[in-house]
């Protein structure tokens, strides 16, 4: 550990921010961490900060790239329709008993790039179905949760392919520390200020009650209707268990729920999408009545199409998010091949499941009410990037009048 290329002081600060800003872990709460094995140094810092904050029991479920690949290379065909349902059911039970949840993102984004797309898709689908009860408790904000990243070797080598491994890891670590605001003297104060800035943006947007957003840019002419009674959010968020958490570290977005039947037009991705080990590049799509009716991609089209065949809701939108083009992650100029980062470099939309919490009274609405107001449901939730400094966005009122929300990728209103 002593000769790791990762700054141990900043790593410890990242662990502290994950617990004190990300989760705001409450006294006595149990904690479930999911993490790649190669992120163990961060898991250990998080575990210590969790116990210092009064955690009950911290349990880490590690994934291992080699074990995952072993399955794709050696398992019988029938394996790919199975999942560890017992584990996900257990997690859901823990969340129902108020355990908090922390995910460390850092898996090799290209892990499954050379595996059979059919097996990848079936394994993902089986996993999504088994995970759904637990995921609904997370996306529904029953409990406080957080995702934070760690610069694993295989991820670092993908992002910085021309550097030796140690240099690549150090560079990715620095980018993560900067984006996560732990390179500052007082990261916790920085996050307080950042949350206030995001809140000013979504407060303005909520006041406008736009009926739709209109996107114009190269290859993009898209209208995204917003769900009835939608609510914009961003940064800190109060979960139903009364704890205010910051689900994503880093985060630069404000976001809400689109109407699953009211999306029309064409849209072009502005960055590649890395999904479960496959890179999907140069996506171009056309929507009619909310449904994606055409899809092209220069790479990974087959995998993306299979994912979008998961269920009826998979070709409809579940999230729309606004990010300034000048955000620190965008300004870094790095393509991270990791949604947590790349989505925060650009305005984006997500296919699939919507967030129940992005509605007025979202905490008390039933699934049926959410659906009736235009919320989408699906086993998947996949963000892809459609913003750049060449994309303008207008907010359109119910009477057809409109006003600028973004110009050349930047906020077009002051708060």
């Amino acid at each position: 550990m002593s000769n790791s290329p990762i700054d141990p002081v900043k790593l410890d600060k990242l662990g502290e921010v994950a617990i004190k800003v990300g989760l705001q872990l409450a006294e006595g709460q149990d904690l479930i961490i999911t993490a790649p094995m190669t992120s163990a140094p961060l898991v250990r810092r998080i575990t210590e900060h969790a116990y210092k904050a009064g955690a009950g029991v911290v349990t880490t479920i590690y994934s291992d790239e080699e074990a995952t690949l072993s399955r794709f290379r050696h398992a019988r065909d029938a394996s790919f329709d199975r999942a560890a349902g017992w584990l996900y059911q257990g997690m859901a039970e823990a969340y129902r008993n108020n355990a908090a949840r922390l995910a460390i993102s850092g898996d090799n984004p290209m892990m499954l790039a050379n595996e059979d797309p059919d097996k990848v898709s079936r394994a993902n689908r089986a996993n999504s179905a088994a995970y759904r009860p637990a995921l609904e408790l997370i996306t529904g904000f029953d409990i406080n949760w957080n995702i934070v990243s760690y610069p694993t070797p295989n991820w670092a080598k993908l992002v910085f392919p021309n550097d030796p491994e140690d240099v690549a890891i150090a560079k990715l670590a620095d980018a993560i520390f900067k984006a996560s605001r732990v390179d500052r003297d007082d990261p916790i104060a920085e996050w307080k200020q950042h949350n206030a800035n995001l809140k000013a943006r979504w407060t303005w947007l909520n006041g406008k009650k736009f009926a739709s957003l209109k996107y114009k840019g190269p290859g993009t002419d898209l209208s995204v209707g917003l769900a009835d009674g939608h609510r914009w959010k961003g940064g800190a968020s109060e979960a139903k268990n009364g704890v205010t958490c910051n689900p994503n570290i880093p985060t630069e977005e404000v976001f809400t729920t689109p109407h699953r039947l009211r999306v029309e037009g064409t849209v072009s991705a502005t960055k590649p999408l890395s999904h479960n080990g496959t890179l999907i590049e140069n996506i171009q799509a056309r929507f009619e009545d909310g449904r994606m009716v055409e899809l092209k991609a220069s790479k990974g089209q087959e995998v993306f199409n299979k994912v979008l065949d998961t269920d009826e809701g998979a070709r409809r939108l579940g999230e729309v998010a606004l990010v300034p083009h000048s955000s620190p992650i965008s300004a870094s100029g790095i393509l991270f091949y990791n949604t947590l980062y790349d989505e925060n470099a650009s305005c984006h939309i997500a296919m699939g499941q919507c967030y129940a919490d992005c509605f007025e009274d979202g905490k008390t609405l039933t699934q049926d009410q959410i659906f009736a107001q235009g919320g989408n449901k699906s086993l998947i939730h996949i963000d892809w990037m459609i913003g750049s400094d060449q994309v303008d966005i207008d907010g359109v009122h119910a009477d057809g009048s409109s006003e600028p929300v973004k110009r050349k990728g930047e906020w077009a209103f002051s708060v």
Copy 2:
């Protein structure tokens, strides 16, 4: 990995033996592995052999010594009465759905040696209670299961304290490979022969239907009554799911269920007992009516006493096992500080829970019937070693007549 002191060919054979001999994993069975993080190289070999054998989904739950210690050093007092019940409940559910179970033993035996005994005891008790439903499915042989070992650095350094780490790991690896019979050309054939030898021993013992065993040696004058309808077992064992497995790799013992009310006299341990990170040395105990009424130990007495306070059954016996003093593990002369090894170097007894399977018709007996026949019940099951080349054992019939079972630690009958 390339400069590991552990022979990769033998490690792979150990993984193969764990799946093909230890578990005899059936086509389509899911598999749950529990393992220290530092044993990942063996987990990966096992995972590959499992998928090659037709495993459904293999899920590994890793433990991490640093995270465990972090809890003891930083958690609030209330943490030590909690456990990850959700995880154990999930495992039990998986076993009810016929998942197989493989544990890798290799944790640092002294991990908790310097922690507060009260916290250690409370944490163990909370864990045992939460784990009980899953453990009963294992000890009741509802499913095929196996324990196998890996030479982790901290364990190796404890066993070979005067060697550099790499040398210690290589030595412990060799000892594990030899005891697990993977240093031979055809380990699977070796295990078939070994199972046949063990079967000949327990077949003879079952034919005798002894009422009790009488132990005589230095500091030992003990009578251990056997449960009514007890059955001797050893080596391969058929689980209720129809799969024949070898639960322990290595194993040298034949064993059965003592009567929890019929143990009388004094007994001295012949090796130290390593229990959940505490070493308990020079145990001397006296039993009356099956209950341990006196306990002395030169080291670890407080921890052992606390464990034995777990419940009513913790001071009574749940297992009695016979091992030849000349067994390969005993012949190695190594003190492993690990029950899986040390128990197979010596005759031993276990405090606590009995094995339901060590009865005639054990597969169909209810818990109440087992109890009525003298079987013990407890949250704990802790083996300790009472055999040596100075201990003789007689089998005593119901009419008081007796015949030699062991002399100077060796089998005293031919088969």
